[in-house]
């Protein structure tokens, strides 16, 4: 079935969260089989910056749910939303 690339929007808890450190924590929290291929950052408002990792998951692995759950529990994360998905 191939892999799927999902761009996931990670909102930090506050404008003060260190995004470089947050990248490391997201990396460490990845469920097995998933892989991060680079990050984008997006200025939102009032100093808030969203982190947008592109995560590769297998198409047959049941969607992005496992990744979303794992990321939600990471320290400094306010919320997780899937921005877009595309097949590889």
């Amino acid at each position: 079935m191939g892999d799927v690339a999902a761009k996931i929007k990670v909102m930090p808890e506050s404008p003060d969260v260190d995004l470089d450190a947050l990248e490391d924590r997201l990396e460490a929290a990845l469920p097995e089989g998933a892989e991060i291929r680079g990050y984008q950052r997006e200025d939102v408002a009032f100093g808030l910056v969203a982190l947008l990792p592109t995560v590769i998951v297998p198409d047959d692995a049941g969607g992005t749910e496992a990744v979303e759950e794992a990321f939600s529990d990471v320290e400094g994360v306010e919320s997780i939303d899937v921005d877009s998905v595309g097949r590889l």
């Binding site: 079935m1 799927v4 939102v44 100093g47 808030l48 749910e65 939303d81 877009s84 998905v85 590889l88």
Partner: protein, 422 residues
């Protein structure tokens, strides 16, 4: 990306192995959207080996390889330009659990190309994707009858598949008058950018012509403001800042707004987008804003912000059309899974199953059935267990669709027919 031509999100839908990826590659190739270095690399290799020509298959392989490595290009996002539009491709993953992302994600498609293989016809995922396209509010379908090379470009085979697809479209009440059917071969390139000699019996548009002929999507600016709240922050020096993406309407400073179902409101003081203060924001904009008199605990994720004089609907119950995609047993009245609609996730009870729809005719097969199961379409009445803001799909489609999840799976998708307000 071109700034001076209108933009569209284009979904490529269809059954697995009917050639969606090949078609995406072919569209990129024919519109000159394949990265320059992939073409250069091919030229060099071709010269070394002493064979000329520009092989599409080679480009497909290398695009796949590029994407697998995925270092420099935005792999979740592919785009190409035609004369009329800049298209972003929304390529739908095969697995059903991605359906939730297609419903709640940012890149909702305006129009779609349905790929149906000429040698296979309508297959299970063709059916599922067409229903989803309908649920997701896709306006027009262009239907590429693909792999025409495998049926020797036979007009009879083409017509047979058209009949099958037309039946399917009628079932889900897609207006077939607006549908364009095109015999193509994504692999060979027939009727994609140039009319093919192999199908001299066909005198309709090529795929790129059909894409150019699509009506320009109108941003839902005239609809009332609907802004689902993603997160709520307290920012020092500013106060409470809700953040979210505007689905419909416009948000202006000075507007009197209402948050539902939290049922609080106030005047918009400042709006920021990309860290810059703006007087007004439109559909698709991600904004943070500040509302006079609203505290952090007054509103929450899942609230919808709208005008105070036309506030978002809050459902006591709502009636919806659903399609069950996967469920291990049967669904009966009383079933309470989690509904995902915009940024809200609320447990909802299916209070009654009102009608079962016969998938082969599209007509009501049974009134008040005892149960529904995988593959069934039905009209159901739903009671949210906590207040939920949702809108009839016919009035505000952007706020009228949902995914139903249970046991870690997306089990159904649906759209709201009517809302019985609290």
């Amino acid at each position: 990306m071109s700034e001076d031509i209108p933009h569209q999100n284009l979904a490529i839908i269809g059954h697995v192995d009917h050639g969606k990826s090949t078609l995406v590659g072919r569209l990129l190739y024919e519109t000159g959207s394949v990265p320059e270095h992939v073409i250069e690399q091919h030229k060099e290799e071709a010269e070394e080996k002493g064979k000329g020509g520009f092989e599409f298959a080679y480009v497909m392989d290398n695009l796949a390889e590029e994407r697998e490595r995925g270092v420099t290009i935005d792999i979740a996002h592919q785009e190409f330009d035609t004369d009329e539009y800049n298209f972003t491709i929304v390529d739908c993953p095969g697995h059903r659990d991605f359906v939730k992302n297609m419903i709640t994600g940012a890149s909702q498609a305006d129009n779609a190309v349905l790929v149906v293989a000429a040698d296979d016809g309508v297959a299970p995922q063709t059916r599922e994707h067409v229903f989803l396209a309908r649920t997701l509010g896709i306006n027009e379908l262009i239907i590429g009858i693909n792999k025409m090379d495998l049926v020797d470009y036979s007009e009879d085979s083409y017509k047979e598949v058209i009949d099958e697809v037309t039946d399917l479209l009628n079932q889900v009440q897609f207006a077939t008058d607006d549908t364009t059917f095109i015999p193509i071969s994504a692999f060979e390139g027939d009727n994609v950018s140039e009319a093919s000699e192999n199908t001299d019996w066909y005198d309709g548009p090529t795929l790129l012509e059909a894409l150019n002929n699509l009506p320009e999507p109108e941003p839902p600016t005239d609809a009332p403001l609907r802004l689902p709240i993603q997160d709520v922050y307290t920012i020092s020096g500013i106060g409470t800042v809700p953040v979210g993406r505007i689905e419909t309407g416009t948000l202006n400073t000075g507007d009197n707004v209402s948050f539902q179902p939290s049922d609080v409101g106030g005047e918009v003081k400042t709006i920021e987008m990309h860290h810059e203060e703006v007087p007004s924001a439109a559909p698709g904009d991600n904004v943070g804003f500040n509302v006079r008199g609203i505290g952090k605990d007054d509103i929450r994720r899942g609230d919808v912000c709208g005008p105070a004089d036309d506030p978002p609907s809050v459902a006591e119950t709502f009636q919806a059309q659903v399609v069950v995609m996967q469920h291990p047993s049967v669904i009966t009245a009383g079933y309470t899974p989690v509904f995902h609609a915009h940024t809200a996730q609320v447990a909802c009870t299916i209070e009654s199953i009102d009608q079962k729809i016969d998938p082969s005719t599209g007509e009501v097969a049974e009134e008040d059935p005892d149960f529904i199961k995988s593959g069934d379409a039905a009209v159901v009445t739903v009671r949210p267990q906590k207040p939920l803001s949702i809108e009839p799909s016919s009035e505000i489609p952007e706020l009228g669709s949902f995914a139903i999840r249970d046991m870690g799976q997306t089990i159904a998708a649906g759209k709201v027919l009517s809302v019985d307000e609290r």
